[in-house]
């Protein structure tokens, strides 16, 4: 178990540089950049559906070099600010690292991870648009997309420790985040939030990642939306190694305007959101 959080912090944040993106988005990006008639919006949709590319682009743009009037929280904003060619070239430099391997030592199912993350992103965006006019639905989309990013980091850089946490979760029938706390000393929510803070992402985004297993403390619309969307997402498309759907604590239910069943009713047909997630999460044949 790693006892020293600052050592873990350094080890992980250095390592994230080397995480490759998902096979399908890399393949799609290369296809788009070879096609002279490709549209900028297609590029945005590729980046927006890959947590690794999204994280890396936001990380570069929110770094201390520029003091933006607003933090950059969406790929669309990054395109307006920096132009599509700059964003394309940033994405290409990420694609050049390679692709996330389908098999990894931790036995982490990256396809299911992506399906779950995209489902939660889609649900969080819809939920946000419904419940709170003051929060940008695209910010909730990003928060949903990135809520489990800590798992990618664990799988990639601490596969043995994380495999032990996964085993503990299965064998003792406890939620994965608790097993991670026991086996590693820190859970994926805390690691994801720590990185988001280190990269100067907006506070609300880091907080939503941190609290996605701690509904009692979800006091902002974004964190409540992400918590609820994660539970709904688990019903619709279970996260790898975490199919345990929790009831919404009062704080979350109050923000979102109802319990899980009521929210599912009010959101209407989510099959389109799940289908979109499914299409994007399929690993390309080339992998």
């Amino acid at each position: 178990m790693i006892q020293n959080p600052s050592e873990l912090n350094r080890k992980i944040s250095d390592a994230v540089e080397k995480i490759p993106a998902f096979p399908k988005s890399v393949q799609k990006l290369l296809q788009l950049t070879r096609d002279i008639n490709s549209q900028p919006k297609d590029l945005v949709s590729v980046i927006e559906t890959d947590p690794v590319m999204t994280v890396k682009i936001l990380k570069v743009l929110n770094s201390a070099y520029y003091n933006w009037p607003n933090k950059i929280t969406s790929i669309n904003r990054s395109v307006v600010y920096l132009g599509v060619n700059t964003i394309k070239n940033l994405a290409l430099s990420i694609a050049a690292i390679g692709v996330l391997p389908k098999e990894n030592k931790a036995g982490f199912d990256i396809q299911r991870y992506l399906l779950h993350s995209l489902t939660v992103a889609g649900v969080a965006k819809r939920l946000c648009a419904k419940v709170d006019a003051g929060t940008d639905p695209m910010d909730c989309h990003i928060a949903g997309l990135l809520h489990d990013f800590g798992k990618v980091v664990f799988a990639q850089f601490m596969p043995e420790e994380w495999a032990a946490a996964l085993a503990l979760s299965r064998e003792s029938a406890i939620p994965l985040y608790l097993a991670e706390q026991k086996a590693i000393g820190v859970d994926h929510a805390a690691v994801g939030a720590m990185l988001a803070e280190k990269w100067q992402f907006p506070n609300a985004l880091a907080e939503s990642i941190r609290l996605h297993h701690d509904g009692e403390n979800c006091n902002s619309p974004m964190s409540a939306c992400v918590f609820a969307a994660n539970q709904i997402g688990k019903r619709l498309a279970a996260a790898p190694d975490d199919s345990n759907v929790e009831e919404l604590p009062p704080a979350v239910a109050a923000h979102c305007g109802g319990d899980l069943d009521e929210l599912l009713d009010s959101l209407g047909d989510l099959s389109k959101a799940v289908e979109e997630a499914r299409v994007f999460s399929q690993i390309g044949a080339a992998s």
Partner: protein, 295 residues
């Protein structure tokens, strides 16, 4: 404040009889404050004749502001003679490039390499400082303040507003008007439109009320659709910016390299017929190499 155009051509130098009147050198503008402080906007090939004019002033301090790193805005820098003379002080200002991960020093490093140029950056005799700018954060010079504004081009491009002794000039560098990347029926269309409007508003505030606006006017509005996404403006977009920002004089620059003097004047005449100058509105002019104005 004095403004002198040393290079007004876009993309590539085009010397020859067809461009003798407006000039074939690429972008370079000299600004002098009332106190003779020297500010140079971009180091296209126009910086070479500018350098010749400075030989009697050395030792000098030059503040060079690079709008962006494309060749036509930097290719004259290796021939800026004051770099080679001890006692001169050069301050090169520019953006951090997110893709290369480097600051403005890369425009010198990239050009002054063995295979491409006989002298290395380390061998330059002047004192050289590289200043990394952030959008919206003004740089205070001795008698002027220069504010970078992030504009729209395929590489990071700063427009610069220069304020000195109550006078002001804004130079766009290369800039294309923003356009929505979504179709009106797309879910993200409105969100993107709002982002564009917010950005446009911030640009208008930065340009507001300038005495002189020098704007990238590469194309005609008829030519533009075929060049969409290339990062350049057209006569109508420059006029629109000048009007909305309340600029007193608009200089159209970055002339398309294949455009001859007579074609440029013909196009400009058509523009003036379509946008007659109105009293109190901006006055429209074509930037011409060698022209100097005092404001």
């Amino acid at each position: 404040m004095k403004i002198k155009f040393w290079g007004v051509r876009g993309s590539i130098p085009v010397p020859g009889p067809n461009t003798a009147k407006y000039g074939g050198n690429t972008t370079c503008i000299e600004i002098r404050t009332d106190d003779q402080e020297l500010i140079i906007l971009d180091g296209g090939t126009g910086i070479f004749p500018l350098a010749q004019s400075l030989l009697g002033e050395m030792p000098l301090t030059a503040n060079v502001f690079v709008t962006h790193s494309h060749w036509d805005h930097i290719q004259g820098l290796p021939f800026f003679i004051p770099f080679f003379v001890p006692g001169n002080r050069m301050r090169l200002h520019g953006a951090y490039d997110f893709v290369s991960g480097r600051g403005v020093e890369q425009v010198m490093d990239a050009q002054l390499q063995y295979s491409f140029f006989p002298i290395r950056e380390a061998e330059l005799k002047a004192t050289i400082e590289y200043v990394k700018l952030a959008p919206g954060e003004a740089v205070q010079l001795r008698t002027a303040s220069v504010t970078p504004v992030l504009l729209n081009h395929p590489v990071i491009n700063f427009g610069y507003r220069i304020d000195a002794n109550g006078k002001s000039v804004f130079f766009t560098g290369d800039h294309e008007p923003y356009y929505n990347i979504y179709d009106a029926a797309d879910e993200s269309f409105r969100e993107y439109q709002e982002l564009i409007e917010e950005k446009e508003q911030s640009i208008l505030e930065a340009v507001a009320g300038v005495d002189v606006l020098v704007a990238d006017t590469s194309y005609t509005v008829e030519e533009y659709p075929a060049k969409k996404g290339w990062g350049h403006g057209h006569f109508d977009s420059s006029i629109d910016l000048a009007k909305k920002a309340g600029a007193k004089i608009l200089y159209c620059t970055h002339h398309e390299p294949t455009r001859s003097d007579s074609e440029l004047e013909q196009e400009f005449a058509k523009i003036l017929a379509r946008h007659p100058q109105q009293s109190g509105g901006p006055e429209y002019r074509l930037a011409r190499e060698g022209e100097e104005i005092e404001i």
